[in-house]
Symmetry: C2
Subunit: 238 residues, 2 copies
């Protein structure tokens, strides 16, 4: 992690720990520069990162101010590596429905930029909130076998992304997220303990390595009664 990133994280932590309110003025550029014993440039970059991620807003000539925090329970669409990772904050349990090696089907080829038939590790899981009490979503994931090799059961039960990053040394770079709303079909309705034609929130995510290679395409169908999303926009032009 670069210095400005670690300073940015430290400031976020302070905002959270002290529950600083919306509009609270942070220390000045000079004060932050002195406190972190670094260059003005590094602080400027840290503040810009914080602004881009919706933690603060900057007013030219006045300083940096804390932004309102999201409502409880809503999950941040843009936190770190997408929606899935912010789910970790909930107490989730999962059930593995199937795991197999399959030849890439056509609709996955264009998402992962692979040839028809290229081997993929396909994993279908059902996620619950709490101890199998409330269904959260059905997740179908397609991983490039050339990137993840095999995913052992321990990795699937734990965190697949932690395994990929720590054990396989594949760094995850960024992701694309697509959201749409549909009506539930029989099979999903049964799994989610809902009714046919109930609303379904469908979130597709494509994850890329830090070298820009797409390696994971997943489609998750959410129980609409449990799905609350949040996104903080910082404006492009100030």
């Amino acid at each position: 992690m670069l210095l400005y990133e670690s300073i940015a994280r430290q400031i976020v932590q302070e905002i959270q720990e002290k529950s600083l309110p919306h509009g609270y003025k942070l220390e000045t550029l000079d004060q932050l520069t002195e406190r972190f014993n670094t260059s003005k440039n590094t602080i400027v970059r840290a503040l810009e990162t914080l602004e881009a991620h919706g933690h603060i807003y900057q007013i030219r000539g006045s300083g940096s101010f804390v932004r309102r925090r999201k409502r409880n329970y809503y999950l941040d669409l843009l936190s770190h590596q997408g929606y899935q990772s912010s789910l970790k904050k909930l107490s989730l349990t999962s059930k593995l429905i199937s795991k197999e090696i399959i030849p890439a089907p056509e609709f996955v080829c264009k998402e992962l930029d692979v040839d028809l038939g290229e081997p993929l590790v396909y994993i279908k899981r059902l996620h619950y909130i709490g101890n199998f009490a409330r269904t959260l979503c059905i997740e179908k994931s397609y991983y490039k076998q050339s990137v993840v090799a095999d995913l052992p059961l321990e990795a699937i039960n734990d965190s697949i992304f932690d395994y990929i990053q720590n054990e396989l040394d594949v760094m995850i770079g960024f992701s694309d997220t697509y959201i749409k709303v549909e009506k539930l079909k029989k099979q999903e309705a049964d799994l989610l303990k809902l009714h046919v034609n109930d609303p379904a929130l469908v979130i597709e995510e494509i994850y890329y390595t830090k070298y820009g290679e797409p390696f994971d395409y997943s489609e998750a169908t959410y129980n609409y009664e449990e799905a609350y999303l949040y996104a903080q926009a910082s404006s492009f032009a100030k």
Copy 2:
């Protein structure tokens, strides 16, 4: 607009005009510095802005690369000032259902940080895609009267945000977006030409001035057959 922002915009425009593919390597830092006849620092900031907004990814020691563009038809949740503004790209028509001055109801007070009863300009509109052919959403907006004074009919028919920025000189800073899925109730179903209990995508947005004052709370109920959202995440820690 600051220099690095205008350079960032110019690069985005080039990416779009030339339809540069995912993974396309941009000019080097030195080349960009020379071309834009500016400092390295300014180019670094422009590239970071582009990365934060999901247009490029940077690999340390290798350079900057173009990110995949979103699917056609999906609307960018984070584009400039939220979802509403990216709707402008569709050919939309609107029908004003009501406009009145109302005392702030309780559920709006906490969103806009106002006292109960403070006067708000309340606007309810129905938006269509194309020439009143397909319903897109029902939008209820609550504007602080102390910020927008009155919103004349021309402004409502045109773009309220353009009016606020250009005529009232109130600069819009950023927004919070909340997304949930519900079942349609009778009144909304009728307006959207859908059925009771059909899925409804509900998007709440709170807009702030660049000084951090919340001034507009809006709740839009979307026709699920027309609502496709997109969000590009850049990772926090590279």
